[in-house]
Structures are given as structure tokens and as C-alpha cells.
């Protein structure tokens, strides 16, 4: 009797397990995410906080984030995606635009910043208002003059799309779509945008040499610019008033976040990586060339502003020759392999196994260099 009983029990268990696996099979295949470890480029510091610590980078999460990044459905009218204002060929700024365009022919009040090496940025936006890469997209998605949409409407649109269901399942283990998963996936993509293969980087690695102009420009840079645009990220991530006039939007910058008068007119020091293609410059994009930017630092800083950065109180003295050499040096920060990287470019979704073969071989990885 004991034997019969135990056989019955075993059969019951087996039937149960079959039932479980039947329930488990939701038509999207098993959950086997491919880890995509994040490596730090040679010469880069350790990031101050590990943005992938609780959001492990996987091929599936990255691909989902990329699809979301290029998807206009994140906006009210279906036209504006993250990439509308963050274009890959322009180091993820809006190429040749002072202000970004939003829904209903609206304009934002600031110049879209480059999405480069965000894993090393403790705060995002010109005023540092965003404290974590994952929550950043909430701002442009919901702003009336950017994407003008509600998060629950975005999720409703995504839930109607079987491709998204499949991709959320592949990235997170089940097809449920919620704001946290969407934001984590986007962060996997944007946090992966590492630019560390410019001529400057190759020179640092001993794989290239500066021309005489570039070399002298580099010396001037180290002498007169590097205290704020610190190597190798070319920003110290601080907030400073660089002596621009209060603009027509009455944008007081950092003060809006901290409510401190001492932060009036302070904006984040932007990275200079790929600065050749990120024009126009400054928080409102009102300066269209690097030469004009240097003119500002040489001649146009408003020195009467109480919160002006002390380093700029005497402006910056540059000879015409130094100015030209400086621009030549800044051009060495252009990372064409980053600007043309197919992993970051828009395109139809490629099944992950093919992506793995074509894009994430270690020798092809940026970060591995």
C-alpha cells in the first residue's frame, strides 16, 4: 500500500510540475538574460555611484531601452522620442538647434545636453535637478513643452504592443510593463553611452600623437580650462556662473533647485567630449561656434555678477594663436567611433542572439578598450 501511495504521490507531483511549466510558458520563451558587464575605460575614474548596481545591464535590457529611446509613442503626439532631441550622430544633443522642439510646435527653454558618460555624472540636467539616471526620463516625458505625455498613457500604449511584451519578458522575466521597468531599461541604454575613443584618448593610450597645434592647444587647455573641464571626463560636474546675462526665460539655473541665492545663474559645467558636434553652446544654446565661446571667456563675461565664478573674475586671457590652437585641441575630443556606433543608432530590433554576435564581441566593445 505504501508503494502505491508513494507512486500516486509522485505521479501527482509530476502532473503538478507539468502544469507549472505549462503555466510558465507564456509563448515568449524562457527567461535567460545575457549579462552585459559594464567596464570602465582605461584612465577613467571609478563612477561615484554605480548606476548598474541595482539595474544589472543585460543585452535584453539594453535593447529594450534602445527601442524605448527611439520610440515616439513616449510622447503625446507620437512624434517626439528621446532621440528627437538627443541625436546619436551629434553626441546625443539636438544638432544645430539652440532649443529643443516639443509637442504642439513648442520650444523648451534649454539646450539639450549631450548624453555622454552619464555613469560618471552624479546629477543630471543643466541645473542638476535630477538625482538619478533612472528618474530622468520622467521630466521630458511629462513636460508640456517636451513630450507632453502622462506616464500611465505611455504604459498603456506600450502594453498594446506584443513586441514590447516580448522584450519586457526577455529583460525582466515576465511581460508585465510598469514605470519602474521602463525607466530601468532606458537607463540601461543611456547609461551605456560611453565615449572614450577620441584622438585625445588614443594619444593618452600611446596609439596616436597630437599635431604641434593640438599639443600646444592641450597645454593651453590644461593651463586655462581644465580646472572646471577636468580630464578625462572634461567636466568636474560642478555648478558655476560663467558670466552670461540672465536670458529671456529668466532662467536662474541651480537656484531653482536649491532655493539658494548663492546658486543664482549657476549651471552645470558641460563635458567637452565631442564638443565639435554639440554646437550651439551654453544652457540656452545662444553661442553657435567654439570661437565665439572663447570670445565670451576672453571679452564678454559679466564680471559684476555677485555669483560669478571666482576663476573667471579676470576673464580668460588668450592670444589669437592660443585661441586657434585651443580649438584644434578641442576637435581631438571628437569620438567618431562613438558617433557612428551601430549599437547606439536607431534601427529595427535585432534578435538578441544576432546582436550578441555582431555587436557585443569583447573586441568590438567600447568600454573594453
Amino acid at each position: 500500500l505504501k508503494i502505491i501511495f508513494s507512486i500516486c504521490l509522485v505521479l501527482l507531483c509530476l502532473a503538478g510540475s507539468l502544469l507549472i511549466s505549462a503555466v510558465k510558458d507564456d509563448g515568449y520563451g524562457p527567461f535567460k538574460p545575457t549579462p552585459l558587464p559594464f567596464s570602465i575605460p582605461q584612465g577613467f575614474p571609478k563612477p561615484t555611484s554605480d548606476i548598474f548596481a541595482k539595474n544589472k545591464r543585460t543585452e535584453e535590457g539594453f535593447q529594450l531601452g534602445k527601442k524605448l529611446f527611439y520610440d515616439g509613442r513616449l510622447s503625446k503626439d507620437g512624434e517626439i522620442s528621446c532621440a528627437t532631441c538627443h541625436q546619436p550622430f551629434a553626441s546625443f544633443v539636438t544638432y544645430d538647434h539652440d532649443l529643443s522642439h516639443g509637442v504642439n510646435n513648442s520650444f523648451s527653454t534649454r539646450n539639450a545636453p549631450a548624453l555622454v558618460n552619464l555613469a560618471w555624472m552624479p546629477a543630471l540636467h543643466w541645473d542638476g535637478g535630477i538625482n538619478h539616471i533612472e528618474v530622468q526620463p520622467l521630466s521630458p516625458i511629462t513636460a508640456h513643452n517636451e513630450m507632453g505625455e502622462k506616464i500611465d498613457s505611455v504604459l498603456a500604449k506600450l502594453r498594446k504592443d506584443t513586441t514590447y511584451k516580448r522584450m519586457f519578458k526577455a529583460a525582466f522575466g515576465d511581460p508585465a510593463i510598469n514605470s519602474q521597468r521602463m525607466l530601468k531599461a532606458i537607463a540601461q541604454f543611456t547609461g551605456s553611452l560611453v565615449s572614450a575613443n577620441s584622438k585625445y584618448d588614443r594619444v593618452k593610450r600611446g596609439q596616436a600623437t597630437f599635431t604641434a597645434y593640438e599639443e600646444r592647444g592641450y597645454l593651453t587647455f590644461k593651463d586655462k580650462c581644465a580646472s572646471c573641464h577636468t580630464e578625462p571626463l572634461f567636466t568636474d560636474n560642478s555648478f558655476r556662473n560663467n558670466g552670461l546675462a540672465l536670458n529671456r526665460f529668466h532662467d536662474i539655473g541651480r537656484q531653482q533647485i536649491t532655493q539658494l541665492r548663492s546658486d543664482s545663474l549657476k549651471f552645470k559645467v558641460p563635458t567637452l567630449r565631442n564638443v565639435q558636434v554639440t554646437f550651439p553652446y551654453m544652457h540656452d544654446g545662444h553661442i553657435f561656434s567654439l570661437h565665439k565661446v572663447l570670445d565670451h571667456y576672453m571679452n564678454n563675461i559679466i564680471t559684476s555678477q555677485p555669483t560669478l565664478d571666482p576663476l573667471l573674475k579676470n576673464r580668460i586671457a588668450l592670444t589669437l594663436r592660443e585661441k586657434n590652437e585651443l580649438v584644434y585641441f578641442l576637435y581631438t575630443l571628437t569620438d567618431s567611433s562613438f558617433l557612428k556606433d551601430p549599437r547606439y543608432a536607431p534601427g529595427m530590433f535585432t534578435p538578441t542572439d544576432r546582436v550578441r554576435k555582431t555587436h557585443v564581441e569583447p573586441e568590438e566593445r567600447h568600454e573594453g578598450m
Binding site: 509522485v10 510540475s17 511549466s21 541595482k54 520622467l138 513636460a143 522575466g173 537607463a187 533647485i257 532655493q259
Partner: protein
Amino acid sequence: MLFNTVAHKFNQGSIPKKGCNFFRGSFFVTFLEKQKSKIKVLPIFLSFQLLLATSIAQNIKSGALEIHFIHTANGKEISLRDSTYTNPFGETYTVSKLRFYIGQLSVPGSGYKFGEDDYYLVNAANEMPIEISLKPGSYNGLQFLLGVDSLHNCSGAQTGALDPMNDMFWTWNSGYVIYKLEGSSPASTADLNHIEHHVGGYKGENNVATPIKLTTTQPFRILENKTTVIVIENNLDHYWKGQNDIKISDGALIMTPGPLSKKIAANFSNLFTIKSISLNP
């Protein structure tokens, strides 16, 4: 919009419960396959588990505590949008939205404590009691944090009660609104006489999350298999007047962390009282 009105304890969706994982994952199936050859071991293993499970279940004897929040002004329960109240400065106002976060709930002496990821969004538009199970005994109060601790303000995308869809997250200046009061008042100088008080802030001296400690005059009892109901009153009369005077005419729009949020938050410690305790039959 459903999410805006739900005041409920959510599970943190991204963290699957361990036991759940074991059952649904492939481990169990693989285990069965591996054990096919030693099939006689299995029933013993399973019955042992069954025994273990029943013995654990038998050991858990508990009662329930239901925590209700009521929102009052001028001694009356607040009715959203359609009733007018007067603050201690003679300014009349209506209330359209009233929401706040509760975390770190504990009942001293019971060993009960919220998990560190557990938050409730209390919402006057849709009251849902907080239900917890406690070991039977006699207790004399409860504690909670009004607000969201700093870690959950700066650790990226959250879910459940802290989902940014609940409209309690500043998208342009990351961080949670911990107490939201909206309505209108003739004393308001803002557009359409609106009142929009979004109180929050987590950094350094701007941190407004406030520990609340409520004690009862007499101990209340938790009985096995019975539900004790505790009603906590959120009295807006104390919102306007406490350590600081909050006049609508002085500032009807408060939407940032900093001095104005702090000024209101200084009144939070006297906002709540235990209104009643009863035993559900």
C-alpha cells in the same frame, strides 16, 4: 488614473518573493527530473516539507490591526471639493486633494515593523485601511515616518506606492512630495484662487520627513483571530497653526523643497492624534 487613487500597500514588484521564485522557477522541475532515479526518496522529502509547513502554520497565532486615517477640519470630516472650511486665521478654503506618505510603521513592543521598502500612500479620495497582523498582546501606541526616507528619494525608479505615476514625485527636481494639499481659497492670490501645497525635500537641512509617535491613554489589546481598529485623525486645523502660522494669503503655491516646505513641516508633529480604538466583533 487608477494609480492616483489607490492607497494600498504594494509589493515591490521587481523583487520576487523567495518562496514564489522557488515554486515557479525551473529549479523545482529540474529537481524532480534529477530525482527520477531515486524516486522513493521523494515522498519522504515532500511529506517532511508538508509536516514542516503545517507545524509553522500552527505556531502562528495572531490578531489583526486595521489602521484608518480620517481627515478633519473645524471638527468635521473633510469632504473633498464640496465643503468649505475656515483656518485659524479666518481664511476659508476647500480641499480637492489630500495625500501623504507613511513609512517605517511600527507598534512598539510587538516586534512588528514595516520593511524598509514598504510605503503607504494615504489618499483622502480613496481610503484604504492599513492592515497588519500582530501577535496578541497589549500595546500603547504606534509610530511611523510621515514621508519618504532619503534613500528612497535618490535611488532611481521605485514601484508600488512610490511609483512616480502616483503623482507624488517632482520630475524636474527629483524627490517625493510627502504631503500634498490642494484646493482653493478666496485668500489665495494664485491663478483661480488655487492652493497647491506640495511639501517635500530630503537633502540635509531641507529634509522634512517627520517621525510621528502616537501613544494611547490606555493600552489597547490585540486578540487572537480578532481585528482591532485604530482611527488616526489628520487634523488640518493643526496644519495651518502649530509651531508656525501657515496663512494661505502668505503663500498658496508651495512646490519646492526648501524654506516654505520646512515651515509647513514644522507643524507635522502635531497633525495626528489617535481618535478611537475599537475591537471588531
